[in-house]
Amino acid sequence: MSQDAKSPLEYYKHVSLFWTDLLHLMSGKPIALSAVGPMRNYANDLKKVVTETIDSYEHMVEFNQRLAEYYKQLSEAWTDAQKKVDSKVPSIPQDAEHLEAYKRVWIDIFENDFTGLFDSEKFGQNYGKMVSAELELTKHWENILNVILQSMKLPTRKEIDEVYKEMHELRKRVSKLEKKENVKNAA
């Protein structure tokens, strides 16, 4: 057992990986006998998918915490703004224009309070970290998809990106050459 497992999550990851690896090694030879050719890859692929899923747990927790904080901030801003509206209600004239005046007060106060929230450091920080955690989850999902794509002999996102980059550089070179040619022709 890993002695430096610092948290239950680390321990859980270690135990899962230990058994996945060990079972993989133990079953290696019988599978190699029975499974011919590419079928052998499925065991490897499964291991990658399991590892990726376990790794994503930490970011899932982080994302959920940030998301809860995000909704908490919105909810608190709403409650505070509503309290301010309620305290203003007695000063709104009770006439035919009452509803319109109430709506105006409500919108002004809510707009002001929510803009204050969106403009605050605490909102910006939490939002930034929430997006980061969401992106980490996206990365795990992409890694899982890449395993599936590779098993189907299809290009992964990284491989497609290489093609895009190459095309971008080629387009740039062609554009520059065309410009040079135009200048030459104009002269």
Binding site: H98, I107, E111, F114, F123, G124, G128, K172
Partner: protein
């Protein structure tokens, strides 16, 4: 026992509002059924997904120096020609300005590596060269709106000999001075992680940014007014056009977005003359041509404090700032802009295009 009566006026208003909501589909087209293009144009030049639109002249006497409009990379160019009565482009044409406008197109995943260099030194430069050649002039007037104003400013500093006059309309220049909620969000995001993970900046992120700008005024009151005025044909037509425009923003190429957020908002390099585009340092002092800056005091997308520093940073002797009591969109697509903003810009351009 005390009886409380509901004001009959309220009942009447409620019934009328409900009737409007129910009958709305009878009078109003669906946004998808509306065509946003209003003033006729020809596609004069195309490169990759970028198109240079040349609007057909409406008057015989033409101002000698043509105008190239560098539209923003957020949303699409239609807002400058949203409807005939509020069309920025049409008004310019009526004043005899020869108008070209750049439509940056809709980038796909393939375009994720497009950056400032591509937009400024390739696309914008090709469009400017095309217009110079077609109009037989050495230099053109260049107008940039919003983020297009930033691109135009950078272009003018790198290619000053090709720009006779520069008009920067609500340009994004000094990210640290921007007081909008959008700048708060952009300062806290890990842009490297976003671009490395998802490539192009998806429209959904932009819609999120729009949603935190006046969420109650824009999210509730606006639609309440729409249903209340459902019988006002002009109001409804204008409302739907603007709504359709607002909800049609293309993705932003990843590398362009990365540099945008880092250099303009997070590290604020542009105004400090420390930004590099295509390997060249941007020096705003190299902008020496006549400059007109148009600012809206009620701009909640690009605050006046963000645009204003351009005035002090350039090397131009002939520079003017016009500040208008309106908002980001009101400055370019409203009755006010038709009456005040465009005529003043035309006058300014004509004086400097002889």
């Amino acid at each position: 026992m005390q009886h409380e009566f509901i004001d009959p006026k309220l009942v009447e208003e409620f019934l009328s509002f409900t009737k409007n909501v129910t009958e709305a589909p009878k009078f109003v087209p669906a946004p998808d059924e509306i065509t946003l293009e209003s003033t006729p144009f020809d596609v004069a030049y195309e490169e990759d997904k970028v198109r240079l639109l040349h609007f057909r002249p409406l008057v015989e006497k033409q101002v000698k120096v043509p105008l190239v409009i560098s539209y923003a990379v957020i949303n699409r160019y239609h807002i400058l020609d949203i409807q005939s009565k509020k069309s920025w482009v049409r008004k310019l044409l009526e004043e005899g300005i020869n108008v070209y406008m750049i439509d940056w197109g809709t980038p796909t995943n393939m375009d994720k590596y497009l950056d400032f260099d591509d937009y400024v030194n390739s696309y914008l430069d090709s469009c400017v060269d095309f217009v110079r050649k077609e109009s037989d002039v050495d230099s053109i007037s260049l107008q940039g709106y919003c983020t297009g104003g930033t691109l135009a400013t950078i272009y003018a500093s790198l290619h000053p000999h090709k720009v006779r006059n520069l008009v920067a309309t609500a340009p994004v220049i000094d990210g640290w001075k921007d007081t909008t909620v959008v700048s708060n969000v952009t300062k806290h995001i890990d842009v490297d992680k976003i671009v490395d993970t998802i490539g192009n900046m998806p429209p959904e992120f932009m819609y999120y940014c729009f949603s935190i700008l006046k969420p109650f005024e824009q999210g509730l009151e606006k639609y309440y007014k729409f249903f209340k005025n459902i019988n006002d044909k002009d109001f409804v037509d204008n409302f739907l056009r603007v709504e359709k425009w607002l909800n049609d923003t293309p993705p932003i190429p990843g590398e362009l977005f990365r540099q945008w957020i880092k250099d303009v908002y997070q590290e604020n390099l542009l105004i400090q003359n420390k930004m590099f585009v295509g390997g060249k340092q941007i020096d705003l002092k190299k902008i020496t041509m006549p400059l007109l800056i148009q600012i809206a005091v009620g701009d909640h997308l690009v605050s006046p404090e963000c645009s204003m520093p351009l005035y002090y940073a350039v090397g131009s002797q002939d520079k003017t700032v016009r500040i208008y009591p309106t908002g980001h969109v009101g400055m370019i697509a409203s009755a006010f802009s038709q009456k005040k903003v465009v005529p003043e810009m035309c006058e300014w351009l004509k004086e400097r295009s002889k």
